[in-house]
């Protein structure tokens, strides 16, 4: 009896150790929010579909963290590079007035080569700065966003729906996707139950597809080599894997995923925000994957999925519930504390032995 007890306890402890306290606390908190919601007059159906739409919207941006974490490049704070490629793709597709799924597809198609290009450049930077990847990534991302702000003013886009009406040049700060390819994925095979519940099937299929592709990639020879470079560089080198090359491949992959993720984000959001809009977009994605249980040097697809659900759940539920209960808008502060607290937790957790 005693032994069985101990075993049982050991099992729970092991589960908690595997799952991590922050994740458990956040999951319980989220559950609590959903339980409270109906009592203060919040419709669970609406909240649930809001959350699902946001998961579909942000999932691939979170997925873009995985290749770089796996290859030992740390958290991809340089996500804005991919985002910029996604923006250029979207704007170019819109310049030609392409609509519907075709317009969306063309945006992705335009975005990918640029993302590859930016990714190769970023990869070289990352290799120059081994050990300082995250700081460099942050500032390379910021620099590119600021540089593109100058470019948005100057690039020769002419479609009157995109540029400032007054001067006829320079892209607008916010461009609406209405009439182009707004919500084409979200509405694709969408399931509606009752007046309030909406399931964005298309976005989920696309997200799942990307997840499967990334998962399958890490089963290929290149993918295994990439993980090896991240977890044991000496071993990888001994087996003839070029560390630097693998790292560049991982950065390119992350950047391409970021670009695709951004186009998906835009179609769901319905607007394109240029100029300083993408500046801080890496942070929610970083926080989400960490919330999902990833560390600085290991991430799985399940981390992505769990993390996106938890993080977006918190983001959707806290404002409505807290505002309903306290009549304040304290949710923004909670968002800042939760997301940055999560990043801090991850940065301090694996503090030993990872200094290169």
């Amino acid at each position: 009896m005693k032994k069985k007890d101990r075993m049982h306890k050991g099992g729970i402890e092991k589960f908690i150790a595997n799952f991590g306290w922050p994740r458990i606390i956040i999951a319980i908190f989220l559950l609590l929010l959903f339980v409270i919601a109906p009592f203060i007059g919040i419709d669970v159906g609406t909240s649930l579909s809001d959350m699902l739409v946001r998961v579909g919207m942000n999932g691939i941006l979170v997925l873009a963290m995985v290749p770089m974490i796996q290859s030992g490049c740390g958290l991809n704070f340089g996500l804005p590079l991919g985002i910029i490629a996604g923006l250029v793709g979207a704007v170019t597709s819109m310049e030609y007035n392409w609509q519907g799924l075709f317009g969306f597809g063309m945006a992705v198609l335009f975005a990918i080569p640029l993302a590859v290009l930016l990714g190769v450049m970023y990869g070289y930077f990352i290799n120059m700065a081994k050990g300082d990847e995250m700081m460099i990534g942050t500032y390379v991302g910021f620099s590119v966003v600021a540089f593109m702000s100058m470019m948005w003013l100057r690039l020769p886009y002419r479609n009157p729906l995109l540029v400032w009406g007054f001067s006829g040049t320079g892209l607008r700060t916010t461009i609406s996707l209405t009439g182009f390819w707004m919500k084409v994925l979200d509405n694709f095979l969408a399931i509606r139950i009752g007046p309030r519940f909406f399931f964005p099937t298309g976005s989920f299929i696309f997200f799942a597809l990307c997840c499967v592709l990334v998962w399958a990639f890490f089963k290929t020879k290149t993918g295994i080599a990439m993980s090896a470079v991240g977890s044991n560089p000496q071993f990888a080198r001994a087996h003839g894997v070029s560390e630097d090359r693998m790292r560049i491949v991982s950065v390119v992959l992350s950047t391409v995923l970021g670009a695709v993720g951004m186009v998906v984000y835009e179609q769901s959001y319905g607007f394109i925000q240029l100029y300083m809009g993408p500046l801080y977009m890496a942070f929610p994605a970083v926080a989400a994957i960490l919330l999902g249980g990833a560390t600085i040097n290991s991430a799985t697809i399940s981390n992505v999925v769990i993390g996106t659900f938890l993080f977006q759940g918190i983001l959707t539920m806290t404002p409505s519930v807290i505002n309903g209960m306290l009549q304040t808008d304290v949710a923004e502060v909670i968002r800042i504390l939760v997301s940055n607290g999560m990043i801090l937790y991850a940065l301090t957790r694996k503090g030993k032995g990872t200094v290169k």
Partner: protein
């Protein structure tokens, strides 16, 4: 082999100020701004920002890189300022009381920041950066929700219309430039705030003196090599926490000096940019994440702000678009941090490879 690399290192560490000087030489005539105007601006800005940038020197000495957590000090200074304004104080007493209020808050925040950075050794910069964001949330919570509800605020003019929470911006009519104007000398029609510069000089001397003390020497040892310092019986973690506390304190005073010069507080924005601008300025001055001197501080503040004042006008005259100049300015302040960190990391890596290569040669 060795001399070649140190020469390269010297060139790289001076490359950044040289590039900026060249840029200034090109952009100053382009902007069409007069030299006296620029000089006046530079003096005002040196008085405003030097102390903030100075706060970054000590953590670099302790091998903790650029302390993005200095925004915590700026927050402490602002909390002090808000309370002082609420109590209706003005003039020099207001500044002193604000500094007095900011001191314990900075020490607390500095301890917190140092403690966390000890958990993330080797990743201090990115961690301190995130700490800044995290504490910004706490700061917003304090000022937006606690002040006026839990913490009593008597002056209703400071509060948002809903009855609690501090307004987004406030003027400091009784505090505006009190330190600058208390003792100032007019030279060629320019007011030179002697007292402000005296305060900055005192802090410079304190830092120089501190470096020569036992603790300062310990700090340098910790910065060079933690393991060796530990072996020599230096309490590594405590020394690192102390470095961050000092940095946070100086940043707090720096923010107070900076706010009295500006005469307004943007309650929720003033501190956010402080970290980025101070770090960019220090790097422009030729410092790296491993080496920063007081000279770097002043050269950096001067060059960075020269670029800051000149580039929108230069952009306007050159391309006919002031907005483009604005973005250029943002681009340069982020780009300079990226490039300096990159050059520095690359240099460090090459030195390491070089050393490894030499060791292997020795073995064979």
């Amino acid at each position: 082999m060795k001399p070649k690399y140190s020469l390269k290192g010297a060139l790289i560490s001076n490359l950044v100020p040289i590039v900026f000087l060249m840029f200034a030489a090109f952009a100053v005539p382009m902007s069409g701004l007069s030299i006296p105007y620029l000089l006046h601006e530079m003096i005002s800005r040196l008085a405003r920002d030097s102390l903030l940038v100075l706060s970054l020197v000590i953590p670099v000495l302790a091998g903790m890189g650029l302390n993005f957590g200095m925004v915590l000090g700026a927050m402490a200074g602002q909390i002090g300022m808000v309370l002082v304004v609420d109590w209706g104080l003005g003039g020099m007493p207001a500044l002193l009381v604000a500094a007095l209020l900011g001191t314990p808050i900075s020490i607390g925040l500095g301890y917190f920041c140092g403690y966390i950075l000890n958990l993330a050794k080797g990743r201090e910069m990115v961690t301190s950066y995130i700490i800044g964001f995290f504490m910004n949330g706490a700061y917003q919570f304090l000022l937006l929700y606690c002040m006026g509800s839990i913490i009593p605020i008597t002056n209703p003019e400071l509060l948002l219309s809903r009855g609690y929470g501090i307004r987004n911006s406030m003027d400091l009519p009784n505090i505006r430039q009190v330190l600058d104007r208390l003792v100032s000398v007019e030279v060629f029609g320019m007011d030179i705030p002697i007292l402000t510069f005296a305060v900055i000089a005192v802090f410079c001397l304190l830092i120089v003196w501190f470096k020569t003390t036992k603790i300062g020497q310990d700090m340098r040892a910790v910065g060079r090599n933690r393991a060796v310092a530990n072996g020599a019986g230096i309490p590594v973690e405590k020394t690192r926490i102390l470095a961050i506390i000092i940095s946070t304190l100086i940043a707090c005073y720096g923010q107070i000096v900076s706010l009295q010069n500006l005469g307004t507080i943007n309650t929720y924005n003033s501190h956010e940019q402080v970290g980025i601008f101070s770090i960019a300025a220090l790097l422009v001055g030729g410092a790296t994440a491993e080496n920063a001197s007081i000279a770097n501080v002043f050269v950096g503040v001067f060059l960075f702000h020269l670029m800051f004042v000149v580039s929108p006008m230069a952009g306007k005259n050159l391309i006919g678009d002031a907005q483009l100049g604005e973005y250029f300015r943002v681009f340069v302040s982020y780009g300079i941090i990226a490039v300096s960190l990159l050059l520095h990391a690359w240099k460090k890596r090459h030195e390491m490879l070089e050393r490894r290569l030499l060791e292997n040669d020795g073995k064979e």
